[in-house]
């Protein structure tokens, strides 16, 4: 089963990368604010249903893909 994990800097956590990107976008003339930069992990797991897959992926997030001190994650199915 194919899934996508979105890892984001938690709300309230300083994101210097997002700030730098926002700064550059403004230099290009875009009226933009609140830019945050995260990470996308596409993966495939052996699972019969989404609940089983989700449980496996959440374990992966807790153990490696995200650091709970500073990052939140979201698991999505059915995206290319």
């Amino acid at each position: 089963m194919r899934a996508t994990v979105l890892v984001r800097p938690k709300a309230g956590i300083l994101d210097p990368q997002g700030d730098a990107v926002e700064h550059s976008l403004r230099k290009l003339g875009f009226d933009v604010s609140g830019v945050r930069v995260g990470r996308v992990v596409d993966l495939e797991v052996e699972a019969d249903d989404e609940d089983t897959a989700r449980a496996q992926i959440e374990k992966m997030c807790h153990e490696l893909l995200a650091n709970p001190l500073i990052e939140s994650f979201e698991v999505r199915f059915g995206e290319s």
Partner: protein, 231 residues
């Protein structure tokens, strides 16, 4: 048989201060030994462990995240749980935080620039096994060189750590956006420490400062004591 206390230095793919650490530890009386990241055990005569600086696994995912899962780190965890002294320098600090052997996490510098300069660091807790050769409040000149050295913990955690004396070193001024200028922390048991500054680059006055030698010599003392305690 060597009478010098053995300090084991774990080398990961991408470690690059391993030889500097070995040389510096040797200069303050240790017998350095290298351990490969795939080794499942530390040498039996290990009195202390150093996780050196570098860019293990290319800093993939998050700095220290991949290295924290290496087989050698399971051995380091057992060593630490048995009371063995462990010092993580720079990438080693990042690895210890990702392994959750130390509180907090190291994040990209606020200025998003790699900093490479001498830093003034103050000893906040001189009672740890790592800082007992220093005086409380002593200012040390030790180089920093990192892109992701901003230590972070939530405010509640920070307050607890500070109250327990676990904030060991602070920068005298803001160098990277580190929370409350924290430069080094120790675990609750007092035997695992991490710091972003590089004491192994400050053991000879000819190179600008010998202040790092105070921390490394204290680690060698601790290595000798631990080796005696488990003998």
């Amino acid at each position: 048989m060597s009478t010098r206390p053995q300090v084991s230095i774990v080398r990961f793919l991408g470690s690059n201060d391993d030889h500097d650490a070995a040389w510096a530890l040797g200069s303050v009386g240790a017998e350095p030994a290298f351990v490969w990241h795939e080794d499942a055990e530390l040498p039996p005569s290990t009195g202390a462990v150093v996780l050196p600086g570098g860019f293990s696994y290319g800093d993939y995912l998050r700095t220290g995240a991949m290295a924290s899962l290496a087989p050698a780190m399971a051995a380091v965890r057992r060593f630490a749980e048995a009371g063995g002294p462990v010092l993580g320098i720079c990438n080693g600090f990042q690895i210890l935080c990702e392994a959750r052997l130390l509180p907090g996490v190291l994040r990209p510098n606020r200025q998003l620039e790699f900093v490479c300069e001498d830093a003034m660091v103050e000893v906040e807790n001189a009672r740890t096994i790592f800082t007992r050769r220093c005086a409380p409040g002593q200012q040390l000149v030790i180089p920093i060189k990192h892109g992701e050295g901003a230590w972070y913990a939530d405010h509640g955690t920070y307050v607890q750590l500070a109250a327990r004396g676990q904030i060991v070193l602070r920068y005298a001024e803001d160098v990277n956006g580190s929370f409350a200028n924290v430069a080094g922390v120790v675990n609750a048991a007092g035997n695992v420490m991490g710091l972003m500054p590089h004491p192994e680059h400050a053991v000879d006055p000819l190179l600008g400062s010998a202040d790092g030698g105070l921390l490394l010599a204290a680690l060698v003392d601790a290595a000798a004591e631990h080796a005696l305690a488990v003998a």
